[in-house]
């Protein structure tokens, strides 16, 4: 009887134990499959061009001063008058090499601004002739024989993530510049000033609610208030303002946690020395809470980097480096929104995964940073 009971219990224990192992295994394998999938699909697309180029091809007309007197023969495709070497591309000429004192370094666009040609730029029109209507040798000859000001239509190849990367950074900076001070001040109020009562209750209630609202609702709200009512159009400012509200709960609660960690005695000591409340906050409390505030900032950056639903309807999905804070030219896609756009518009899962790899790296870096700060902090206060 006793042994039976014992066996029964052993079996039950074993069963539950294997369930625990199974669940853990599921969790871990999910992580591996997701990351493996992203890396498998995305890594092949990552190269130097992907990281350094613009997203769209950019077409520009430039004027260059060709000097036919600089005669000279070089390798196949060498244009002595311009000091460049080209090769045959798909209905165009691809610049493969530019000499140091080449005339194309002094090229100007139609606004008379300097527009330095680079390697891999393609020439699609020489003067009035489209390269696609010319044979390669004719196009070469045309280039070689030209003298004086020559108008070229030049296309700079895209396919890179630079604009999205820059836009992401702009949006991070803007959002933090707005939400950071407000969130930290709010946390100071809640932890240092507020007395229990209706105001405190409603503020806490609001923060808890904000934390629970899904980002698509933030997107709707941002679109209605910032984009339409305040006429900011799809812009980084509209996006950042929307994100700022979304970030408030994170910043406030993380900062508050850090403020709570500061021992009471610090405050009392400061008051005892005759410091005012404000002085105590500025000189004692905030320095002590700095690591916590940094963690709040890092958490916020993570949130911004990963956000899409709140940004699509407020900052748009255009791959460009924003110029200005509001209006048509300030619309910008972050890495994440562009990734979504890619899947939806082109069905191109591979390029999307390449962006995802970049995102993963960013997120891992952020996680490590927040870990390191926390560890440093724990070491200092000896709470570890």
């Amino acid at each position: 009887m006793n042994t039976k009971n014992w066996n029964n219990r052993k079996m039950k224990d074993g069963f539950l134990r294997s369930l625990i192992y199974l669940a853990t295994a599921v969790t871990i394998s999910i992580l591996f499959i997701i990351i493996g999938f992203i890396l498998y699909k995305g890594i092949p697309g990552i190269n130097f061009n992907f990281l350094t180029r613009n997203w769209d091809n950019k077409t520009t007309f430039v004027n260059v001063k060709a000097d036919a007197s600089k005669a000279g023969d070089g390798a196949e495709g060498y244009i002595s008058s311009l000091g460049i070497t080209v090769k045959e591309g798909d209905k165009n000429l691809v610049i493969t090499k530019i000499e140091k004192n080449s005339a194309v370094h002094k090229a100007v666009n139609m606004k008379n601004e300097s527009y330095d040609l680079k390697k891999d730029d393609t020439i699609t029109k020489i003067g009035a002739d489209n390269t696609e209507d010319l044979s390669y040798t004719d196009a070469l000859k045309l280039l070689k024989d030209s003298d004086g000001t020559l108008r070229l239509k030049v296309t700079r190849p895209g396919g890179g993530i630079v604009p999205m990367f820059v836009s992401t950074i702009y949006i991070i900076l803007l959002s933090l510049a707005i939400a950071g001070p407000i969130g930290i001040s709010a946390a100071i109020y809640l932890n240092e000033y507020a007395k229990p009562g209706r105001i405190l209750r409603s503020i806490r209630f609001a923060i808890q609610n904000l934390a629970g609202i899904p980002s698509i609702i933030y997107g709707l709200f941002g679109m209605l208030l910032f984009v339409q009512t305040l006429k900011m159009q799809y812009s980084i400012l509209a996006g950042s303002l929307t994100l700022s509200i979304l970030l408030l709960p994170t910043i406030i609660s993380t900062t508050e946690e850090a403020l709570k960690e500061i021992p009471r005695s610090y405050r009392e000591g400061s008051y005892g020395l005759g410091a005012t409340k404000l002085q105590t906050i500025a000189k004692i409390i905030l320095p002590g809470a700095l690591p916590g505030i940094l963690v709040a900032v890092i958490l916020s950056i993570g949130r911004i980097v990963g956000e899409s639903a709140a940004l699509i309807f407020t900052a748009g999905t255009v791959a460009q480096i924003p110029e200005g804070l509001i209006g048509g030219k300030s619309s910008a896609a972050t890495l994440t929104t562009k990734m979504y756009w890619l899947i939806k518009e082109t069905g191109d899962l591979s390029s999307a995964s390449s962006i995802a790899v970049v995102l993963l790296v960013l997120i891992i870096l952020l996680n490590i940073a927040s870990k390191m700060i926390t560890r440093q902090f724990l070491k200092k206060t000896g709470n570890g």
Binding site: D56, K58, T59, T60, F61, N63, N109, M110, K111, N112, K125, G127, A128, D129, N130, T149, R151, K153, A177, I178, G180, P181, I182, I184, S185, L230, M232, Y234, L237, A282, K283, L286, P287, L290, E323, G324, L325, I326, G327, G328, K329, S330, L342, I343, K344, E345, T346, G347, D348, L349
Partner: protein, 306 residues
Amino acid sequence: MKLKNKVLAVLLTIALVGVLGGCGKTNNTNSNTSDNTTTEPTQAATETPAATDDTSSTDNLSGTVTITGSTSVEKILNDMIDEFTASNPDVTINYTGTGSSAGISDSIAGANDIGASSRDLKDDEKSAGLKEVTFAYDGIAIAVNPANTLTDISVEDLAKIFSGQITNWKDVGGKDATIVVVSREGASGTRSAFEELVKLEDAGGLTEDATVAEGNGSVQTTVAGNENAIGYVSFSYIDSTVKALTVNGVEGTPENAKSGTYVLSRPFLFVYDEAKASAAAKAFVEFSLSDDGQAFVEKHGGIKLD
């Protein structure tokens, strides 16, 4: 320690200034910085950028042109805008994809300079007397999985499939398998063009069973990933991952689409108020019809005018 405190005090001050300054940030709007350099080569309105520099130019185009409307033409328009503004640097063109209907009603209301539409105007829209300029045609391809044995389908069968009256491939000559219908989201121009062209309303409207995918790309991926799927996409989205069916026995080629023998085709239009349109707006429309403009139509799988 002391230094640290100072740094913090500074940080705090900056932070607080940030709070106060936060509201004032909106002032940096995008004031159009059109710095007119007089020396730059000018370009006459109707000339293509190919024109030589020494042509005596009539006027120097400037100003902002707002285009709203169809999202189907996004790629074509973006390239056209790129090239047009490259040769007319003082012109700024803003294009926002809002959908054809919104673009047309914007034009009627005068809220844009040019409306882009990927369908013919309806009668009530025509009554506003806008000028319509067709700058390209587009064909809607019927996409199935390459593993599908079917090669042709009639418009009537398409209507029946998309309305859910035919649910098995064997009823249209394929193998015995359930048809997976893939359609587009409600506001899509391609969807309304498709539904109009196959007269889906008369057949009872889109089946509730249909998968709705957002964007041409999503339709293409879904069809490519499912042996029994059928969807519709712009011509340019047909590649090796999906197979295009002939419709009523006619292959979906640009020629057939333009001539109308391939029934699933539609025009891409600009609509604008001729009396009010700025010189820059008109020049852009002219440019879209020029060889250079048309090159982009072809590049993105649209059908050139000729």
